[in-house]
Structures are given as structure tokens and as C-alpha cells.
């Protein structure tokens, strides 16, 4: 951390765009190579700032998708139609471009092995991004903490990191369940309804096992999920939430 100490306060830096990965029709991952990266914890964010030719600036916070152990920084961005920042990141940005960012920031919606579990991750749509960092970190440190991901998406085509999550699910400690709320492919074996109390009761460990829960998604999704978990008897202090919405565009 000597390097972080040298940097002192949070400073903006230009990171080179190394690679772009189309995750779904509306979501893409941006692989970056920031020159001075102090390291991050799974679940943290960066602030991204765009500056127009006339000097106008727009700033947004994005979750880091990569694990601390990865040798690069990856963000995953969903294009919001009326957004100021996300359409540029999702459509215009090219490899070799530079992106201005600062971070990592945030210390609340963070999981590391010392926090233990059992770990329940609940994602709504692109809310899976910081949870992916946690899952990759879990794999990288070969954690034996039992972890379950419950991921709600509208359709299979909209599941971000689909192939990767399917591969991860093969690990003994990782249990991944999908629920597709609008459209299910033929022969679909997963859930096909919105996340509610009954579904959470079925998927989660009982409250008596004191699972540590991370919920990330659109505001309404997060509130409904967190409220249902509390109604089921889970300790509010063990439920960490992160909301995103159109203001994140």
C-alpha cells in the first residue's frame, strides 16, 4: 500500500482502454489499464468522468467487475437510453481510448474472505457486476465459504457473464440460481418469476445460520428484496445493499 500512500488523496487518472467485451445487447465490459492502481476490494467502485469539448463534465460511479487478483481493472456498463455517460461508454468508446477515473472508492458493499458467510448474493439485472467481483475473488483465494448467487434477469439473453457464471457454478462451494422474469427458453429448469419472499425463503440459508447477504440492483428490486429478507427473519445488519438507477446513467 506504499504506492497508495504516495498518491495521497483521491486523484483522477487516465486509464487506457485495453479491450471491450459485449456481454449482452445492452451491456459491455471495459477492460482498463490504469497507470497507478493501488488495488481494490471486491465490491468497490470507481468514479468515471467525461469532459466535453466545451468543458462540461459528467461524472458517474461504476462498480468494479474484476477481482482484486486480476491483473487489470474491468468495469461493466449497461446502456441507459437517456443517460449522459453510459451511451458513450457502451457505444462510442474504442480500444486505445483513454478514460478518466478515480478510485477505488466505497468500503461498505465489500466482501472479503475474513468476513465469512455463508454468503448469499442477490442480483437484479446488471446489479450482478460487483457480485461477479466477489465470486471471482472467492475463486481466486480458493475460499471454502459457501456461496449462493440468486440472479434475476428478464431473459436468458440479458444474463450478464452467462457462460462464466455457468462455469463457476461447477465449483463445489458455488451455487448459482437464475430466475428469468419475462421470457424463459424451452425446457428452462430455473425459476421463472420475480424474486419474492417465498423464493428467497427457498434459496437462502435459514436466518438461524446468519448468512451474510449482498443485494444489488435497481432501487425497487433492492428495497423489495431487503424488506422480504427482514420479514423472513434475517438480521438487517447482515444485509448490505447497493442501488443503482437511471441517475447512474
Amino acid at each position: 500500500m506504499a504506492r497508495a500512500a504516495l498518491l495521497g488523496r483521491l486523484t483522477w487518472q487516465l486509464a487506457n482502454v485495453v479491450e471491450l467485451v459485449e456481454e449482452t445487447a445492452r451491456v459491455r465490459s471495459i477492460v482498463l489499464d490504469p497507470p497507478a492502481w493501488p488495488g481494490h476490494r471486491a465490491g468497490q467502485h470507481v468514479d468515471v468522468r467525461l469532459t466535453a469539448e466545451d468543458g462540461y463534465q459528467a461524472q458517474r460511479s461504476y462498480s468494479i467487475a474484476s477481482a482484486p487478483e486480476d491483473g487489470y481493472l474491468m468495469l461493466t456498463v449497461e446502456r441507459l437510453e437517456d443517460g449522459e455517460v453510459s451511451p458513450y461508454l457502451a457505444d462510442e468508446l474504442r480500444p486505445g481510448d483513454e478514460l478518466e477515473l478515480r478510485g477505488p472508492v466505497g468500503g461498505y458493499f465489500v466482501w472479503e474472505e475474513s468476513l465469512g458467510g455463508p454468503l448469499l448474493l442477490v442480483a437484479g439485472g446488471s446489479g450482478v457486476v460487483p457480485l461477479r467481483a466477489m465470486l471471482c475473488h472467492h475463486r481466486a483465494v480458493e475460499s471454502i465459504v459457501p456461496v449462493r448467487l440468486l440472479y434475476s434477469a428478464r431473459s436468458l439473453e440479458e444474463v450478464v457473464y452467462r457462460d462464466e457464471l455457468m462455469r463457476m457454478a461447477a465449483a463445489d462451494q458455488i451455487d448459482i440460481r437464475f430466475t428469468l422474469t419475462r421470457e424463459q427458453p424451452e425446457g428452462w429448469q430455473g425459476y421463472g418469476r420475480r424474486i419474492d419472499r417465498e423464493l428467497l425463503d427457498e434459496v437462502s440459508w435459514p436466518p438461524g445460520e446468519h448468512p451474510l447477504v449482498y443485494v444489488c440492483g435497481p432501487t425497487g428490486f433492492v428495497e423489495a428484496t431487503a424488506n422480504a429478507l427482514v420479514e423472513l427473519g434475517h438480521e438487517p445488519a447482515r444485509i448490505r445493499t447497493e442501488r443503482f438507477g437511471p441517475t447512474g446513467g
Binding site: R9, L10, R41, Q44, H45, V46, D47, S61, R102, G103, P104, V105, G106, G107, Y108, F109, V110, P218, T219, R240, T241, E242, R243, F244, G245, P246, T247, G248
Partner: protein
């Protein structure tokens, strides 16, 4: 309007306070509810960021940045304390 939460202003708070603040505990000056800053209800579409108490909706923090200068109003908070293990 869609409210976010205190995670969304982690960078601005770190910039102002020089410390990770989303794990800090804030006490509402109106109703006395105590919560991590990350759980505050945050609105970004105002001129600047407005953080409200999730219980009584009172304004707890206002941060406005103009030309690189950030003005911070914390009058709605009775207390703001760093968590003993404020990592990050």
C-alpha cells in the same frame, strides 16, 4: 424520482473527508435513527447530491460542487462517526 444510496457518493465523500465514509455511522438530527452512510437515501438529480434519512426522510447531507469547489452541509446530522474498522 429514483433514490440511490450512499454508495453512490463514496468518491465525493472520500474527496471531501479524506477517508472512506460510507462505512461511517450517521445519526439523524430529526428522528435519531442511526445508519451507515451507505444506507442513506441519496438523490443525485438535485443540483448536487442530497442524502436523506431512510426512516423520516429528513435531509442529512448536501454536497454541491461548482468549479472544483465542494460545499458540504451536514446540519441534518446529529453525529457522524467513523466506524472502528473503516477499511478501504
Amino acid at each position: 424520482m429514483n433514490a440511490l444510496d450512499g454508495n453512490a457518493i463514496a468518491g465525493s465523500l472520500l474527496d471531501v473527508f479524506g477517508a472512506e465514509m460510507t462505512t461511517a455511522t450517521g445519526v439523524c438530527g430529526s428522528c435519531g435513527t442511526s445508519a451507515p452512510v451507505a444506507e442513506f437515501e441519496v438523490y443525485l438529480r438535485a443540483p448536487g447530491a442530497v442524502a436523506r434519512c431512510r426512516s423520516c426522510r429528513s435531509v442529512l447531507m448536501v454536497l454541491v460542487t461548482i468549479r472544483g469547489l465542494t460545499c458540504v452541509d451536514l446540519r441534518g446530522l446529529a453525529a457522524l462517526g467513523l466506524a472502528p474498522t473503516s477499511g478501504g
